[in-house]
């Protein structure tokens, strides 16, 4: 044994590592953490505020009668609680996050800093317009970038996320149809579409008609054309599609739907493959939402917030919702009411209160200015290159249903390579967690069996991609060789083992309750 000068052993030792239960229940850096409601006590607060006396309240007899039941904690307790929770999360900043369809790219910190400038973060949506000219200028500049990058003449900025943008686009189409006295109701949606597409079409009052895929992962353009008719309001296509492929017949499909009197809605979730190289406006698109939280790097934040501006063709532009932003000799001006419309504007309504996701706009513009048009083009190329590199490096050991040709920014595999191994897509994905990776998107798109959709984005170095490829290759080889212990019940090394989702849904417990109060479902 080596001893240092204080007589304290300094060598690592050779002690066998055992799964000793600890006294605390915590394990080294891994802490278990109770709910905030199980911590704290009465009369403590983490915010010092003066007590006030109002001699007579003016609450009209509506004063709260019972206490709320919130726990009281000091600031250090609250900070420790949420820091401990944070450590149970995987994040892009800590590792490759290959979730297909989600574009988990690097989130630059400059964007966070810019969004927090008081001139953007601390301005009210209804303060006098002459006091927010810089905010309107920023929105106007972002609109310019979006319209130039997409080759579309107009953009509606207020939608708050991708699905909200879809709704905005479909309502614009509805308004355009109604303006010409047309009450078309049918919308064609490929079976490979994101679930938001059919859900949005239904929410906008349309009926959904599914278009099947072809055997090569593309939308069956002939089947789509055959379904067109005088009752078809629109087609909703994702391009590049959810199989990670560019639709080669996109313009023919656009022309066909236009000829039939309908419109072309494009789901822009996969814009990161083509930004700076291909303009949707050149493909015949009438409306497309842009997920600023995907292509333009605003952080996903554990599920939101996002932003989903919608670019619009000349035919749809007049129907964009309120508010509108105009620029004239007096400066920038928001038009919030129908009584004050510029010539030709026929807004279909309003998507939400105020003017959209300003905090996301600042971040997205910071991303755009940082990259420039050349950097955006390079980012798309690198995203496509990285996905193809993964496809080329894995397709001999995993099964790529459409792997003969190149893919766009995501590589799709199915579970054929796991046949007769007893390992499922779920097992394979969960075993990636033990290897330090977030799983890929699994079981989507629905058009291939046991789908595994890998989107590396442009943010990974070649060394990182090589390491990832090595891990997945080895896992695939292990599964095929019958060495399946690592897959059974995986993950083994995460903060939690597999969770019982059936139990969660059968008797839902959706909130904490004080002991003794039963849950209604029990």
């Amino acid at each position: 044994m080596t001893l240092n000068t204080q007589g304290r052993p300094s060598a690592a030792g050779t002690a066998e590592i055992r799964e000793l239960p600890t006294i605390s229940g915590d394990r080294g850096l891994d802490h278990e953490e109770p709910l905030i409601f199980e911590l704290g006590r009465k009369g403590v607060t983490g915010v010092d505020l003066p007590e006030t006396q109002v001699s007579q309240d003016r609450l009209g007899g509506q004063k709260r009668k019972a206490p709320i039941g919130l726990p009281g904690l000091s600031e250090p307790e609250v900070i420790r609680h949420y820091v401990r929770l944070s450590r149970m999360n995987y994040a892009i900043d800590s590792g490759l996050y290959p979730l297909g369809s989600c574009t988990m790219k690097h989130n630059p910190r400059l964007n966070e800093k810019m969004a927090r400038l008081p001139g953007f973060a601390d301005v009210h949506p209804l303060q006098p317009q002459k006091t927010i000219q810089g905010a309107l200028e920023l929105i106007s500049e972002l609109m310019r970038w979006l319209t130039v990058l997409t080759g579309m003449p107009a953009v509606a900025m207020s939608p708050k996320a991708g699905a909200h943008g879809e709704l905005c686009g479909m309502l614009t189409i509805r308004a355009a149809l109604e303006a010409r006295g047309d009450r078309r109701k049918r919308v064609l949606v490929p079976s490979s579409a994101h679930g938001t597409n059919p859900a949005t079409a239904a929410m906008a009052g349309f009926t959904v008609d599914e278009v099947p895929p072809k055997g090569d992962g593309h939308v069956d353009d002939e089947a789509l054309k055959a379904k067109l008719g005088p009752d078809v309001a629109a087609i909703m296509l994702t391009n590049p599609n959810t199989c990670g492929l560019f639709e080669p017949h996109i313009k023919e499909m656009a022309d066909a739907v236009h000829k039939a009197g309908g419109y072309f809605y494009c789901d822009g979730a996969n814009f990161n493959a083509i930004a700076g190289r291909v303009r949707p406006g050149d493909l015949g698109v009438d409306a497309m939402h842009i997920n600023l939280h995907k292509t333009f790097s605003t952080p996903h934040g554990g599920g939101g917030p996002g932003a989903g501006p919608v670019v619009l063709s000349k035919a749809l532009a007049p129907f964009a919702p309120l508010p509108l932003l105009v620029h004239d000799e007096k400066g920038f001006r928001l038009i919030e009411d129908r009584g004050d419309l510029p010539e030709g504007a026929k807004p279909f309504g309003r998507m939400c209160a105020f003017h959209g996701q300003m905090g996301m706009f600042v971040r997205a513009l910071a991303y755009m200015l940082s990259h420039g048009a050349d950097g955006i083009r390079q980012a798309s190329e690198d995203a496509v290159l990285s996905a193809n590199y993964i496809l080329a490096s894995l397709k001999d050991v995993m099964s790529a249903p459409f792997g003969e040709g190149p893919c766009m920014h995501e590589a799709l595999f199915d579970d054929t390579f796991l046949e007769e191994t007893g390992v499922t897509t779920l097992d394979f994905a969960k075993a990636m967690i033990d290897e330090g990776y977030h799983p890929m998107t699994m079981y989507f798109p629905l058009v291939v069996h046991g789908a595994m959709l890998i989107e590396p984005t442009e943010s990974e170095s070649k060394e990182s991609l090589d390491r990832f490829i090595h891990v997945l290759r080895t896992m695939a080889e292990e599964a095929k060789a019958g060495r399946t212990a690592r897959f059974e019940g995986a993950p083994h090394l995460a903060p939690r083992r597999r969770l019982d989702e059936t139990r969660a849904a059968r008797a839902p417990v959706l909130r904490w309750k004080p002991k003794g109060l039963p849950h209604a479902a029990e």
Partner: protein, 448 residues
């Protein structure tokens, strides 16, 4: 470009592995006519951090930040002090740069805070269950109306005249497609007779309290009238701090609560991102829109959380889903949850009392000005004043004197001549006695 790790040599080696001649070969499915060059984009090239910071700071400097002047705007967005710990915690990488928690084994941090958020929202609204957020208060109100239409299988929604007009327009835009939306008359400072509008085709009545003028509404009689006809009461709250002092909608018979959570933790952000709060009764949970985090156990028997009841949602149910929502307001939920945890019962109720006291002081000060009357006899931290002149001119003159005085009612309701001389004014813990005096003095000058 500093965000792109691949080197030219890496790219060459990767293309070689792929067996592609060049990058264009990977885009072979794109129609030739649709491939454009760099020159097609009239946009600048890559910029360093310093240049970007300079350009954006220049734009930011053209705005009057609320914290730099006496500031009294409300009407759906409120300026509150957010403790420093909130922004620090939400910027932790593990929260900021994670996706929707679809892999619960490595997303317990997100799932647990969502479960805590749901509990907090249920507690302060006095409801049984809450979801893991919608985009904002206005879209939450729309979703509540659509949910009421599904539950009752009735087409009609009746909106109080005191509902924020942006919210009313948001509801009309979508809920008016398959059903009908009727707006009750605007009655500043009074409750309208909404009960007489309810019939057997009515799915829901939507009442905001405090309403857009700041008036506190008694929801109980509306709930009783709605329930008597088989309709639901949707209560809307745009200033969530009010529930630290006011009777919660759940105790007054509300069936659904749709609220804006921006006041707690989120900040003004020129209107977004905000956080939509959505709560209801347990029996309606399967008709609820949006994500839900639920408690369960893992294979080793440890407590954990998962996204649950997903069969309501678009990724499973597609066109039959309860909503098309996917991305919600995750990080704003976290900000809300941390801020409310810091406040606790003691801090939250004290904050509410402080807001009411500030607003009372402001109301007393402004009504001392000749010609100014208080339109809303009851209020929480926001009220409406009537003036002898058009509020637009007054607000502009006050802005020229460096005071952002509130929101003129005519901006929100340009077609209501009765509100032309009214100003909607909010006061929070951020307004000092000096701010209030400055406002009073300047208003007296402008009106003299």
């Amino acid at each position: 470009m500093r965000y792109l790790p691949l080197t030219p040599d890496d790219r060459k080696a990767m293309l070689a592995k792929i067996g592609a001649r060049d990058i264009d070969a990977l885009f072979r499915d794109v129609p030739k006519s649709a491939v454009v060059s760099r020159a097609a984009f009239d946009l600048p090239d890559t910029k360093g951090e310093l240049d970007v910071e300079r350009a954006l700071s220049h734009m930011a400097a053209k705005n009057v930040a609320a914290g730099s002047v006496p500031f009294f705007c409300g009407a759906g967005a409120y300026r509150h002090h957010v403790p420093a710990a909130v922004d620090h915690l939400i910027q932790r990488s593990e929260f900021l740069t994670s996706y929707t928690p679809y892999q619960p084994e490595i997303a317990q941090g997100t799932l647990q805070y969502l479960f805590e958020f749901q509990t907090q929202v249920a507690l302060i609204t006095g409801m049984e269950v809450a979801n893991a957020s919608l985009y904002d208060g206005s879209t939450a109100t729309l979703e509540a109306v659509l949910m009421a239409q599904r539950i009752t299988r009735r087409p009609k929604a009746i909106l109080s005249g005191g509902l924020h007009p942006h919210y009313a327009e948001t509801v009309e835009t979508v809920a008016g497609l398959s059903g009908t939306v009727r707006r009750a008359p605007v009655t500043p400072g009074k409750a309208e007779d909404i009960a007489s509008l309810i019939d057997d085709q009515t799915a829901c009545v939507v009442v905001q309290s405090p309403d857009v003028f700041g008036l506190i509404r008694d929801l109980k009689p509306v709930a009783d009238a709605a329930h008597a006809k088989g309709a639901l009461l949707i209560a809307v709250v745009t200033e969530i701090v009010s529930l630290g002092l006011l009777e919660p909608p759940g105790a007054q018979g509300a069936d659904i609560v749709a609220a804006e959570g921006q006041s707690i933790g989120v900040g003004l952000n020129f209107g977004g991102p905000y956080v939509g709060l959505f709560a209801t009764r347990e029996k309606f949970v399967r008709q609820m829109p949006g994500r839900l985090s639920g408690e369960t156990v893992d294979a080793a028997g440890k407590r954990g959380y998962v996204l649950t009841l997903s069969t309501r949602e678009q990724h499973i149910r597609r066109e039959k889903a309860t909503s098309n929502i996917c991305t919600n307001s995750g990080l704003c939920c976290l900000a809300f949850t941390i801020h409310l945890s810091l406040l606790g019962e003691e801090g939250f109720t004290r904050l509410a009392r402080l807001n009411h006291a500030r607003a009372s002081r402001l109301a007393d000060r402004l009504t001392k000005v000749k010609g100014v009357s208080l339109v809303t006899p009851n209020f929480f931290n926001e009220f409406t004043i009537g003036m002898p002149r058009d509020a637009q001119g007054v607000a502009d003159a006050l802005a020229d004197r460096g005071i952002v005085a509130g929101v003129r009612a005519s901006r929100l309701m340009p077609h209501e001549p009765a509100v032309k001389n009214m100003l909607i004014v909010a006061a929070t813990e951020t307004n000092t006695d000096e701010d209030i005096d400055a406002f009073g003095k300047a208003l007296a000058e402008v009106l003299s």
